[in-house]
Symmetry: C2
Subunit: 356 residues, 2 copies
């Protein structure tokens, strides 16, 4: 029902972008103070509508190239050994709203990231029982949410290579921060794929299918690719690029969100993460002068790392930035990397502050 | 730190408006299906930052023109008789983003409304102990959230006339839908003023003060007035105007949110509310032909009322609308009422649908 390819936008934001931003809440950056993002502050990207799901009758079907197809109820899954994994999840489109020209989609500025502890059953445990056949080339995860994108009606579905799906930390999750999943986070069941951008963590998970070919769904082949030219095949989005954010210090102005701090020593707090390798270093800059931030101990292999810095603010207007480097040597760029559909913008954050 | 009066905007949305929309999440309209809006789907309007609050050490001070000033801890308040009230709350600026020209502020389209059950201590119960003096003209409620608006630094504060504050259903709340308040909803304590627009329900409530004059805080005298001309005194926003919404039927397009339904009978579900009088009637229209909707029984004196309608959709493009009437005779207008700063837009919703 919509054009297949949408024309790039320059300048102010359209009502369609605004409607997506109002539906798909970001994490207010002061929530970087929490190790675990509280309920309702975790970012959301919901492509279609939140389905009306009944946990009591929900079924997860696993089928296709498997030795034993099976259907699990929520209660059956809850009866299996549980795993809990702390996961920093980021939308692949985070930062899109700061690129120009930009693709018409969710115009995240920088707040599409959060951390939660997910509890559920390791997918590899289910697969031991189901026995995926050697002929399986991909595992497809089908959500119950349905709608149109790029002119095609479909349910939200994504695939993983079997080796990726079999990682012990990939969960079929039924709880978040110790509570049953909320409707907007995929209740009663969702996939959680640590280290990957959020599109892999299919919500309202209804069916898992082992297939002998490359899955060609809209969300797999159409969207979620890095592309420098419209229409090219591109590189699939997978693991999160190295990134970091600071909680803007001081107090805000309501409309412009500009910050005011008292001149003198200011404590800066932030988080850094990468889906590709552990965080090695975080740097903080005031007015272009970079210094090393202090890294807290890691709190999990898949979770953001807290960092702090101290800044002696002189009176006047300043620009603060931060950038992280991971153990692979990847470092955040200072300017947005070019991408036609606005994926993977991990450019170093800018925060404008007035010290008084 | 910002201009005192902001220039009106026409057309596409500014980055400042987008940043507010991403912070201040709306209720996705499919959540109209829930009698009580689940955690994390309740709309939020947070003027400044969510404060870092410690429930264990939080204190609520009640002072000013009272016989006995007192300070309450959370535990002390939880030890008093509790009340629970089901409340539909709406932002006074709901619908601002659909007006033109529009005031630069949170550009709600229509999703700034939700319903929760709040539990806490009736303010009138606290006042029996504190004994507000007869000379008190207003009761001021001070939140801990602080920042600039219209060029003035202040904490978010609002006042009520004593008679309004003494209503039995006005609560100092510490729980929402049976759970401790979430940080973004005012943890550990907030005021809840049923029937009024949300600005009266001060979050992160730290101090209550009885004063002998009209409170002149920025959020009381500057903002939250109905004004037809910039700069005029205006009429304070108080009780919610009659309003209604439907959950858009069928399935959406990701970007444009346009809806597709199957031709034939379609079930329509919505909610109607008014802070001024009970809902008397809801009408539903397809392509300008109005019919009465069916009203469910009320679920509380301060909560929205569920309604349903059936529509026999012919193939093609259609416009759906709904409008409510309350017992005072107030009915929603078909077009936005003019207001300089975009308050109280209760124009009948429009939903575009294609039946196939």
């Amino acid at each position: 029902m919509a054009e297949k390819r949408r024309a790039p936008i320059v300048g102010r934001y359209t009502q369609e972008e605004l409607a997506l931003a109002t539906r798909n809440s970001g994490m207010p950056l002061e929530a970087l103070r929490y190790d675990l993002t509280p309920a309702g502050l975790h970012y959301l990207l919901i492509h279609f509508d939140i389905p009306a799901a009944d946990a009591a009758t929900w079924e997860l079907r696993i089928e296709g190239l498997v030795a034993r197809s099976r259907t699990f109820s929520l209660a059956q899954l809850q009866g299996l050994p549980a795993s809990t994994v702390r996961v920093t999840m980021e939308c692949a489109g985070n930062g899109r709203g700061q690129t120009s020209p930009r693709y018409p989609s969710m115009p995240w500025l920088e707040e599409g990231v959060s951390t939660a502890e997910w509890t559920g059953v390791s997918l590899s445990l289910l697969f031991k029982e189901i026995q995926v056949k050697e002929s399986a080339r991909e595992i497809v995860f089908h959500g119950a949410d349905r709608g149109f994108d790029r002119g095609v009606e479909h349910s939200f579905s994504r695939s993983l290579a079997p080796a990726e799906a079999m990682r012990d930390d990939v969960l079929v999750a039924y709880a978040m921060n110790g509570q049953p999943l909320l409707p907007q986070h995929g209740a009663p069941l969702r996939l959680v794929v640590p280290d990957w951008y959020g599109m892999a963590s299919v919500k309202w998970l209804a069916r898992i299918e082992a297939i002998d070919h490359a899955f060609e769904g809209v969300q797999q082949m159409g969207s979620y690719h890095f592309r420098t030219v419209a229409g090219e095949k591109g590189v699939p989005c997978s693991r999160m690029r190295v990134n970091s954010l600071m909680a803007p210090p001081g107090i805000p102005d309501y409309y412009g969100r500009r910050r005011t701090v008292d001149a003198g020593w200011v404590e800066i707090l932030g988080r850094a993460w990468s889906g590709s390798a552990p965080i090695r270093r975080v740097e903080f800059a005031a007015d272009g002068v970079w210094q090393d931030a202090v890294l807290d101990a890691p709190t999990g292999d898949h979770a953001w790392r807290r960092w702090t810095a101290r800044w002696n603010a002189p009176s006047g207007a300043h620009e603060l930035r931060c950038r992280a480097t991971d153990e692979s040597g990847a470092v955040q760029p200072l300017d947005p990397p070019w991408d036609v559909t606005g994926f993977g913008n991990n450019a170093a954050q800018r925060v404008e502050v007035i010290a008084r």
